[in-house]
Symmetry: C2
Subunit: 423 residues, 2 copies
């Protein structure tokens, strides 16, 4: 009997977890490598950053998925590159040999080379970043509340800017605005006319993947909620206090949340394959990286352009479907198939949706669109059934109910201010 093949999956995002599930209890050994011990449900990260949900509700222990699958192991490490010659993954905990490798490492924030902006803004891609935003925003209210004589500083602390008109930016703004409404009830002496929530988008429209009427509807709803939406507003610099736009406008703010772009995680460039401008590996129709017969790339770190004019978008359904194709292809290769016999992706567009806040969302699917309460209900439903497990779903449903019906956000605790137990 031949030795079992070792499949290494780098990254425990939507693609990586789906692939490992597909290969669980199959005749291969699987190792998932990730620098975190949890799978992150990224679409709800904005709810962590705005104190709707807790960390534990959108971060799910990886090992818990594979409790009953002894052929799936987890290896907690930071990947630094791949040596395709020697067939090893390079990590900060040594080398990991593979027979088949799947790069599903995801994306990170793209500041487009603006290092000062990067230094002073918050990214919105990790649990830590979301918790930092939460702590910082809540702290800004507490700090502003203590300032009596300096309205300029107070206003700067109470100005919250979200950059980027994609789903993350839209959802962050809507949830921030609702958080402001809750704070209003509890800061008895703060003048809330000094509070501003602002959305900056560099182009002339938000949600680029949506039809135009949904884009306009989104802007209308955000403005009605009180968000200061500015289109054609390109950020050029930020020093932690003054945000500068290309047209010369200056905005005084201590809070800039950046969701204006993504790029593949940097180590992807060290994997020995060609990458596109966003650092993603340009894969073949089988998801194999060009020239290899054992290394695949899927999800946000892969550029898949077959049968479409533009690369498939960096969204969960793409990673899911690519994972299924790769699982089948690996099993075929293990079974002795040749490169030519592998399957290719037939992408099914499941549409897109974004929530703008309580009772309001937009969605589009193959030319059909919907907005308002119906779209919001659909959004709730889709996100609940996609969460990691029945336990999480239940807590999240309960918290959403409290948040939207009772106006309760228990997550409004500032946890990173000091480690010193001495007062």
């Amino acid at each position: 009997m031949a030795e079992r093949k070792h499949v290494v999956i780098v990254g425990a995002g939507f693609g990586g977890i789906k692939l490992a599930k597909d290969l669980a209890d199959k005749d291969v050994d699987v190792t998932i490598i990730d620098r975190h011990n949890f799978h992150l449900f990224q679409p709800l990260l904005y709810q962590l950053s705005t104190a709707v949900l807790s960390c534990d509700e959108i971060a799910y222990p990886i090992r818990n998925f594979f409790r009953n699958n002894s052929n799936v192991e987890f290896f907690m490490a930071k990947v630094t590159g791949v040596d395709q010659q020697r067939k090893v993954v390079l990590t900060n905990h040594g080398e990991m040999p593979y027979d088949y490798l799947v790069l599903a490492a995801g994306a990170t924030t793209n500041f487009f080379g603006m290092t000062e902006v990067e230094k002073h803004s918050f990214g919105m891609k990790t649990v830590q970043e979301a918790l930092h935003i939460r702590n910082h925003v809540l702290h800004m209210f507490e700090r502003a509340n203590k300032i009596q004589d300096d309205p300029e500083t107070r206003k700067r602390m109470l100005t919250f800017v979200s950059v980027g008109g994609g789903p993350t930016g839209i959802e962050e703004c809507g949830a921030l605005m609702e958080l402001v409404e809750l704070q209003k009830k509890e800061f008895h002496n703060l003048d809330f006319s000094e509070v501003t929530v602002m959305l900056l988008e560099g182009t002339d429209r938000v949600l680029p993947m949506m039809p135009e009427n949904m884009q306009q509807e989104t802007v209308r709803v955000l403005r009605k909620k009180g968000v200061d939406v500015r289109l054609g507003a390109q950020v050029v610099d930020y020093d932690g206090r003054t945000l500068k736009l290309k047209d010369g406008t200056e905005i005084q703010t201590e809070t800039v949340i950046w969701s204006a772009g993504v790029k593949a995680v940097p180590f992807i460039a060290n994997c020995g394959s060609e990458v596109d401008r966003a650092g993603r590996i340009i894969v073949e129709a089988t998801c194999l990286v060009p020239g290899s017969d054992c290394v695949f790339a899927i999800g946000d770190c892969a550029n898949y352009t077959h049968g479409t004019e533009r690369p498939l978008p960096t969204i969960a359904p793409v990673a899911y479907q690519e994972a299924d194709v790769v699982a089948e292809n690996i099993l075929k290769l293990v079974g002795g198939a040749s490169r030519e016999q592998l399957g290719v992706l037939h992408y099914k567009d499941l549409g897109t949706m974004a929530t703008i806040g309580r009772g309001d969302a937009v969605m589009s699917w193959k030319g059909h669109t919907a907005s308002g309460f119906f779209a919001w209900s659909a959004w709730l439903f889709v996100h609940l059934i996609r969460l990691a497990g029945p336990y999480t779903n239940f807590t999240v449903a309960v918290k959403w109910f409290w948040n939207w019906i009772a106006g309760i956000r228990l997550g409004r605790v500032i946890t990173n201010i000091t480690l010193d137990p001495a007062k």
Copy 2:
């Protein structure tokens, strides 16, 4: 009409919050000062440290308590001392004048001057400390799992020591042992015979406030669960790897959780009043600090020895009852009463209880004792009704159900390893 009097409460623990609730909507202005924006339900901190509960479930936003009480304000600051002459509280955000002051600042960990032990051990008094323990313990499993050739290091990483046989140490050990059982199901290749959970107690008995039969029962149950309980084990040194006991024993461990003693928070010494060996202010029967007619101290930072041989214990019911006395006394003083007309505390002993783990607890009340499932149910009930609000209670109840019935602990996520979004 006379100007309203300003009552400043330092500390938002059990005593401080109870007092502010007593004074809410009364004819005084109340300011609570705390370095955190949340009230911490300390008795369940061990459940945060062992991944049963989330931070948001035991930390409750202070402002949320007083949403409808416009006479209660919160001021987030770190108190550094009190100037009783000038009637101001000194904070890192300036001075806060008071007419009446209540010190309810609580306690911190007492390492009894062992600076090396303090440097390398985990305290168990704050949310951050509990999260550090959780992250560290989970990380130890992940790190040990990667070690192939060095059983000594692996065993050291898998040895978890809790120092102190009070309720916190007992509860921590029981919950750690149950966490180990959960981990066992998910680490397919780790040898769990190498895992040790150890309880060290310097005296010859645990739970000193309990009758002897309950002390023995506690040790019996812990040992049955697999905890290595060592009595008469006095820690003298720890360098992060080797824990040294007075009798010369050396224990190899990377995890020491210290709950062997408490002392008042340090700034209490700068408040201009006499303190005892544990740094607590020795108060009069009215809870006034000696010589003052407007400064009170309650809870863990007060030494109340009236009508009892020993000071009242540092537990929530004492702080609660002292808060009620002080609230009445302040209102009397505001109304023009003299020092002699103030009320004194008639302490009601509500008994003590400690949980040892799923289905097992011990309790005692005025000579009556109970243990096992009945005591555990009573513990559950008391802790649920004492939690901050209906929303929290509900989530906690659900999580407990999952934990004890289904063996699910969603909190097993390591969140502090890296802030670097680049893999």
